[in-house]
Symmetry: D3
Subunit: 168 residues, 6 copies
Amino acid sequence: MLHQLLERVNKTMGFETARAHCDIPCKIYDPITAQLATLSVLRFLDLINELEQKESLSLADQALFIRLVNDKEKHAAKVKDEVRIIWGDFIKQPQIEAQPDIHALVHNIMMAASAGKQNVSREKGESLLSLVNQFAKHFWTFKGVDTYQAVCPYPPSEKLVYPLLKQD
Amino acid sequence: MLHQLLERVNKTMGFETARAHCDIPCKIYDPITAQLATLSVLRFLDLINELEQKESLSLADQALFIRLVNDKEKHAAKVKDEVRIIWGDFIKQPQIEAQPDIHALVHNIMMAASAGKQNVSREKGESLLSLVNQFAKHFWTFKGVDTYQAVCPYPPSEKLVYPLLKQD
Amino acid sequence: MLHQLLERVNKTMGFETARAHCDIPCKIYDPITAQLATLSVLRFLDLINELEQKESLSLADQALFIRLVNDKEKHAAKVKDEVRIIWGDFIKQPQIEAQPDIHALVHNIMMAASAGKQNVSREKGESLLSLVNQFAKHFWTFKGVDTYQAVCPYPPSEKLVYPLLKQD
Amino acid sequence: MLHQLLERVNKTMGFETARAHCDIPCKIYDPITAQLATLSVLRFLDLINELEQKESLSLADQALFIRLVNDKEKHAAKVKDEVRIIWGDFIKQPQIEAQPDIHALVHNIMMAASAGKQNVSREKGESLLSLVNQFAKHFWTFKGVDTYQAVCPYPPSEKLVYPLLKQD
Amino acid sequence: MLHQLLERVNKTMGFETARAHCDIPCKIYDPITAQLATLSVLRFLDLINELEQKESLSLADQALFIRLVNDKEKHAAKVKDEVRIIWGDFIKQPQIEAQPDIHALVHNIMMAASAGKQNVSREKGESLLSLVNQFAKHFWTFKGVDTYQAVCPYPPSEKLVYPLLKQD
Amino acid sequence: MLHQLLERVNKTMGFETARAHCDIPCKIYDPITAQLATLSVLRFLDLINELEQKESLSLADQALFIRLVNDKEKHAAKVKDEVRIIWGDFIKQPQIEAQPDIHALVHNIMMAASAGKQNVSREKGESLLSLVNQFAKHFWTFKGVDTYQAVCPYPPSEKLVYPLLKQD
């Protein structure tokens, strides 16, 4: 620490330049975490709807229902957090200019995730996934990475937008 | 639960209308939590700068420095969360139409809070507070509540935007 | 770090005095966060009681009931945390002497918040609010700040104790 | 759920009596968690003081110092939480009458845990442990369980108050 | 920090040796936290089963049921975390050689804790407790500390494995 | 709830079979979250080492160092959690038989993640990544999904194991 010494150094190299090249949390942004959380919301909606098909619910079914509602809640909140992080930390002026409706898209994701919390209908989960995939597509375009669509290799077997990476 | 019964009821009253009047987390939005977190960021910046004035730092000072950096981080993150909640849950089409730059303001708060994390200069905290106060002003306007400015009754003794409430 | 140097400094300025003027988490105490959390408990109780009025509950209603119970739980816990922080960090010997029943008041808040968790009757929430408002009043008195009562500008439209600040 | 049915039942058995025999979080209170967290605070203080003995600190030492300060912080906070839970949930009128200074003891623990956060001297950790052990002793007395003292079977090898259980 | 100086010191003392004697989180491992969390799972199962005995459930009973399911979930997760910490941080090559099935035991605990989350039958909790007690016994054997069994001094009054400490 | 009714249903359909087809958290396992967290650990190590190249560190650099150490800690902990979840919830008898050293691999990941917490050398991060990629490869093999290697599209530009999905 020793500020006498530091002050001298700071004067010569300058504070802002010293910081400019590194900016944690640091550039490892990937929309896959938001996409996975969205799939979970959809999956919990499916399981809730399976319960709804039953004629009556045992105490264990009801405990499962509670757990499904809770986990749906947590994952919808995670969607919001993960999207907000990329939006707030990665998206700056150039990205906004390239895609001026990015703010509205993110805001729609927030509202769709709330709808996913508040409802038990599958449609709400599907709308959320469609928006989050759209966000992923924009993200990879901002990064100059092409994308492809594929069915995710687990339930609920929905299509996700993935980055097209060069096999090594 | 007993779905035979429920189905009958659902058919008559309709699901969406049943949900419309209540929407948790439920309408107790208040920008004061974001404002308090912003004040904390500013306060930690002030205390960091007090440390900077010292000629050298004892081990206890250094431990304090670590704690200040950590707490600054946590409160800047809280600013983001609290503003995002109001933006995502309370602000809908009518508010966006009344204040079309609300998305850009919220995005600026995200970036200013990141700057508050990444820097130790007081100016970054002041910019953040100015934006968060602006957000608070919009919020109370959306609610139809007048506001006033006052110096907060604790350090760092900065001006906050408060709702003007009728004394009872 | 360099302890040879530091030791010399520490000997001359003394450790305790060096720390005395700053004590993080640092003096930005405000009972409003505990008051807001209490309002949320009350609000969730109201919404639970609205559900109770229905003849039967759809699956979506039941999901809402689960979310209301969970959020009530979380906010009652928050009341405890926020009050405990002010009590443990801000209230010291002079405040205890000025208000010797402050310990009992805080303990009553803990028990009332537990009751708010364990029950679904509105009265439990009202008792909690009354205690937390009382705590807020003591707090502002300790700080030498006058207070006023006003109906909070959101549901459940209950009276809160607010600090009387000089408009700027 | 079916409220028509429930109402009838509620009328006959009464709500309060139905709830009286079970009160979650439910009676598994044990001060050992607070005692363990206190030992951790002491241990981190010891490790910080080992670092202080070094002539200079490598970058890895400094990273360790940061981690020690953080973990000390977290465990001191845990002490507060765990003691607060027992105090707020388990200690009721009969315990307060049996031990009228229990409020002051708990308040002292809060202040000692804050001191443990803010300082790097071992003495602060020792004071905290002494208070927490005293709290443990009261707790077991309230429960009608005898106690003994033993050196804990891990660093920092301090004496803890343990319940005296019948071997089976 | 001053790396010129530090580099010199690092060369003479070596980095790895400097770190070898201290390894935070630092040696205060105690299976009691996993055991207490397991008892809580069992206790919540008991309380759920008490509810099951009732002819019908009031809204307050149902809220209690939700809270019990949630707390059971949280404590089963805690069992996993606490066991994983000891397994991942304390158990190294010598312990694995002394007890080659320790990995399988820990894996069984993970599966049993999941079963405790997913079910409402007491048997699942009892199996979990038996495994966690076994883990505690291994742990104390690794440490060279004898153990004894005793009924825990709170509900659900199950037998726990405790370390046999020398009274002081 | 109404147990008279439920009991009848339970008798006919059986409890265990009713639960067998769904097992939340529910089958959306993906090692990418553990891989991303590992990349973050590596990235923070790189940024720490950039700081080490500087002749001296400004207060802002030191604040950055603290943040890097903290974030490295958090992400190493996340690696452990994410791997533990897949291991504890997804890996059962058939997978263990197909890959008997899976327990040892997971245990090595726990120890490597701890080493990543405790050290500032890049090698520790590289070892962790190699193990986590190996775990990812096993996971996809268990699922019957082929994999490929590619450089991740962000810093630290390391090779990851990805599932080979059919483009749609």
